[in-house]
Homo-oligomer: 501 residues x 2
Amino acid sequence: MTQTLSLVPARIDTYRQPVVYMAEDCHICRAEGFAAQTRVRIDLGERWIVATLNVVATGGWLKVDQAALSVSAWSALGARPGDRGRFSHPEPAASATRIRAKAYGERLAGRDFAVVVRDTLDNRLSEIELAAFLTACTGDRLDEVETEALTRAMLDAGDRLDWEGRRVLDKHCVGGLPGNRTTPIVVAIVAAAGELIPKTSSRAITSPAGTADTMEVMAPVDLDAAALRKVVEAVGGCVVWGGALNLSPADDHFIRIERPLDLDSTGQLVASVLSKKAAVGSSHVLIDMPVGPTAKVRSRSAADALGARLLAVGRRMGLDVTLHISDGAGPVGRGIGPALEAADVLAVLRRQADAPMDLRSRALDLAGGLLDIASGVHGKGRARAAALLDSGAAEAKFMMICAAQGGFREPEAAPARHEIIAPRAGMLETIDNRIIARIAKLAGAPRQKCAGIRLDSRLGDRVEAGQPLYTIHAATRGELAYARAYAEAHPEVMPIREVTP
Amino acid sequence: MTQTLSLVPARIDTYRQPVVYMAEDCHICRAEGFAAQTRVRIDLGERWIVATLNVVATGGWLKVDQAALSVSAWSALGARPGDRGRFSHPEPAASATRIRAKAYGERLAGRDFAVVVRDTLDNRLSEIELAAFLTACTGDRLDEVETEALTRAMLDAGDRLDWEGRRVLDKHCVGGLPGNRTTPIVVAIVAAAGELIPKTSSRAITSPAGTADTMEVMAPVDLDAAALRKVVEAVGGCVVWGGALNLSPADDHFIRIERPLDLDSTGQLVASVLSKKAAVGSSHVLIDMPVGPTAKVRSRSAADALGARLLAVGRRMGLDVTLHISDGAGPVGRGIGPALEAADVLAVLRRQADAPMDLRSRALDLAGGLLDIASGVHGKGRARAAALLDSGAAEAKFMMICAAQGGFREPEAAPARHEIIAPRAGMLETIDNRIIARIAKLAGAPRQKCAGIRLDSRLGDRVEAGQPLYTIHAATRGELAYARAYAEAHPEVMPIREVTP
């Protein structure tokens, strides 16, 4: 039932989706009944992948006895020119029936999630099957028991760091506030206090920048587990991209689909956060949850529901979880986008006069909370955190962390910029987090590191007509023009309330 | 904001998903920030499409000032070699926020569905966005008002046939019974009775054959609206593929995603059926609903719920809907798969001695039901239907229909076959519709017309050890081997109950 073809690199980048190109008159297509979009199993030695078939017309660039592989398929199979792959029909993915059941509203058990996670990691699920799974889990469609089961399935599918019983602190922010980039500051303060804080972060899911995107502007973040351990043993803390490690590796597959769909699921979110925390070996986790009308968590009751789920599943997983509810009314700091947020982080660590005070204050709240957890004494942590920041100890620690991760670099400025000005005088009373994030994304963030928004006016400011409200930063003129067009069509992002003199 | 590239055919078949190939060092990719999997808008004159970008490495088969289009993208754009396309970022699909809202469980209004349908037809939604929409509508997640709204949105997006107030009969079977191919027989009988029955059918969604797949074995089914009208005015009836017409055209886009996901939604199903019936101009619709433990409708209560929705939405749409509940215990006829089912249809119409009596009886029930509706007198239709079949009038009418559609042809037999034999003696008491359909699909049905299953034993038969239960038919040896392996691993498809002598 298996037949072979010579493998060649197609040198076509299809991002993470593995694609195989076969000739229209290829004998295997005929014998096996393969047609465009058929999912095909390709074996090479011990490795195998399932790829989507695209069919190349006779007389094209592909020989009839060759199969060409997309960049991701070539690398996943570890192929070298001249290798012969064996082609066959994949067995039906065992998880497909579980995904269907969930779509119909049934509850899934631990073994169901384990099968979905395994098939996801083996690339046995198509993009639309993954989209169906994630849509079926949207909102509150996973209950507490299912959430624990998904968390364990995601944890068990990857590696796990072991810190030999030492106290390991961690923080996480449930996103939604553009520019809220406290992590590098918090890690620097907590590590400067002598605590262990091996922080892994994600790239953006639906936001203009994830912590990993921002940190990457200042230092390499693609460290493997051995490199991470070396950094943390040397300097006490790190801020690395979790995706370069094999910690809860299914999460990145889910993110690839969730990102364009812009969907959130309480269960998926809790499983994503806690499986990563458990995998990195954390013992104590502080979770920051900004609440505001346009934040990810929009109301106190939503925060309570999500918080209760995080605490409950954390307890089931043996993690000491502490919640911190913060104000999510508007963006934090001045910058939105990887390099612009990195500039804010550095301004705070360097105690610059123009450093955003709201970012500083939030970072001190969280670092203080972690130091309270570490000491077991409530209320003294914040002052200690402030002292470590003000003394320059945190800045020095941050530079040590960057050096240990591969070397510090300054953020670069964007070549293309456009100021959006106030159409009239008045009070700036709200900023729509979702629209401002959308403009930053249209400008190219997080793909383009320098792209995003810099706020020139802040909440509560009285502005004059013609005064700049914010500046769009972009790497290319096309992206700048596109973001600008969208911004000009959405003045409600920063409404100006006229005030009678 | 728009820039142009020379368009060339990539001659790569990606099925319906439009793909554009651009060179890694193309100036537009750099200027616009396009990367692999970015969705790109391409304008050519008045036409435009949104395609998924795949990036070809420098020095590959693509020149830096060219963009190559997949077969479906090339054809959708109506491009000719030498044309220059304009490239830009597509505006965000307006329907994306509606899809998200539905995934979170919100109710959608008529304008929301209209936007989803329009964006679907304009190819502005990615496959994963369509998968999210369909998953969010799975099961009973659309209520009656939403179902009507979706039905009208699908209807309004296409053409509508007008029969000038004449009585137009139609039938539909809610699938799930392999081999239940009554339509060609019913249409032949009803048209032979002098009624108007312009039947459009779909290709298989999750089954081994749709009526259009089966009919296509015997006559062309890809007729446009003008050709359909000509056939029906000449001979009273037709059996054509609805997808070649522009009647409720979004349905095929939904089917392309539903098929691999194997998901059903009550609302989606009702909207699919009734929008097509309204578009074809039907006034009276008889809906057959087979109920059985492994049929699509598994219980009388599920049939009642689906039936109530069909009646309610039909009433709102001004359609006279009649329900017919039938036995869905097992497959109908002997054949499962396009050509094998066509052979059954012809055996009944030709009154062959080996014609499957269950298929004949079901076709007479439905034709009789339609003749009752037409005459307004209940109970006399079935005898009249039997007379039209037995006299050969229905066979003659069927041949006229095939000739009018483009010419009759006999079904062809499959080159590769394998008999599955009874492992022991006993009674054959159940056949699992889902597993038998799965085996037929693995054998290549409906893609391969000749592929499928022929039942050698029937429900209620007493079989001896070694006696054939069914034969797998396939177009290729690879598909035969694959279906056979699956069949041998699933003997529960036809369990034999041992009987004490």
